[in-house]
């Protein structure tokens, strides 16, 4: 295995990795706020809204992400009547699938974070005269995010690895280029290179969240 060979495949693979990173960024930026809104919907006093949100979360977490991606890419266009308007660019469709799916997971994480907050926090806030909005934004949410942080970090690492599902809907990404190179050059080196690139990405992410956790340790 020559150094030259690795540099020659590195170019296209890093190009594929760009797709991976792009999907990751879009998915994380959109699904965290959306997940948070879902948590609020689940917690809402408006019963139909909370039931809807719970149903949504149940379906998204109860079925494979791959199935959801295939459905959005290939299933939607086959719906009689409206299907022709639902033909999305593959990458856009994949982003949509990831965001919708991960929002459900983040919603569960945030809900768990809320459950972890002692009712004494609400009571102290009330006795001190804080209103509901002040209590939520200044007392509850900061603690919820703190509690949720390790789970959010974990889910983000999973998201990096899940981007490999782009392969299944034929969006050229890191794994696609590795597989192509393996078939073309009869060597498994590209798989190792791909593995290393994934490891690099998850390492950066892990360090990033470690940093945030340290900053919000409250000790």
């Amino acid at each position: 295995m020559s150094f030259d060979y690795i540099t020659s495949i590195l170019g296209p693979m890093l190009e594929g990795a760009q797709m991976t990173v792009l999907l990751f960024i879009i998915a994380i930026i959109a699904s965290i706020p959306l997940g948070f809104l879902l948590t609020l919907a689940v917690k809402s006093d408006i019963k139909p809204l909370s039931l809807l949100a719970e149903g949504y979360i149940y379906v998204m977490r109860g079925t494979p992400l791959l199935l959801q991606l295939l459905f959005i890419c290939f299933g939607l266009p086959m719906i009689p009547g409206i299907g022709e308007y639902l033909v999305l660019d593959r990458f856009v469709a994949a982003c949509l699938g990831f965001v919708l799916n991960y929002a459900a997971y983040f919603a569960e994480i945030f809900r768990g974070g809320l459950l972890a907050i002692d009712k004494g926090q609400y009571e102290a806030s009330k006795v001190l005269g804080l209103n509901k909005w002040q209590t939520t934004t200044r007392i509850i949410l900061p603690q919820m995010f703190r509690v949720a942080l390790p789970a959010v970090a974990n889910e983000s690492v999973t998201l990096v690895k899940d981007t490999a599902l782009l392969y299944a809907v034929a969006v050229p990404e890191l794994l696609h280029f590795a597989q192509t190179a393996v078939n073309r050059d009869f060597t498994i080196v590209p798989f190792f290179v791909a593995g290393l690139i994934y490891l690099m990405m998850t390492l950066v992410l892990t360090l990033f969240f470690k940093g945030i956790e340290r900053k919000f340790k409250f000790e």
Partner: protein, 248 residues
Amino acid sequence: MAIIEVSNLKKSFGQLDVLKQITFNVNKNDVVAVIGPSGSGKSTMLRSLVHLEEINGGSITVSGEPLVKEGVYSKPQEVKRITSKMGMVFQHFNLFPHLTVKENLELPPRLVKKESPEDIQKRSSELLGKIGLADRASAYPANLSGGQKQRVAIARALMMNPEILLFDEPTSALDPELTGEVLEVMKALAEEQMTMIVVTHEMGFAREVANKVMFMDNGEIIESGHPSELFTNPKNERTKAFLTRSLK
């Protein structure tokens, strides 16, 4: 002059009548110690005063203003204004863990009171000095001992300038060697004529600092009076039995 008047207060949780027609007054500058066995309704009584529990009947009046009148609550903003005359200190402190000691003290008045930040800061450093924690202003609650936490919780309640301070077993969650420092702060408040209602198992404190003791059992006030009287010469059998058990 009565600052709190409670009459025929009733509270039940489902079928369970936790407070049965409770009536008592607290005068300005009183230190009232509330004692009684577990489950007798002491916490529920205290929590009803600050509207952490919704009562089912009776009246609560705070410095002449009705919080509830014969089971009917005043308008929400009135309830809020009236309950804001009272501060509460909880058994488990309930400090805000994501805020430093100083922020714990200053955030609530900043959000709720119309006061300049300078005035708020001035008061918080005064209070921190008073509870002996001036050097821990930037510490997080996680790094404080239980006794320190409870002292901060008292200071936080005082930041709102309450007319009355309620304590629900303020030392029960503390290691025995840490109760003294909290009781000292409470004693100092009593000496400054703070009106206080203290649910406590600390008979020594009740005897020494309170000017009135209320013994509750099974959702009723069985007996109340000056500690010198109630502790040495209890009239009711249940009071006697309780005191024998807890003073042994």
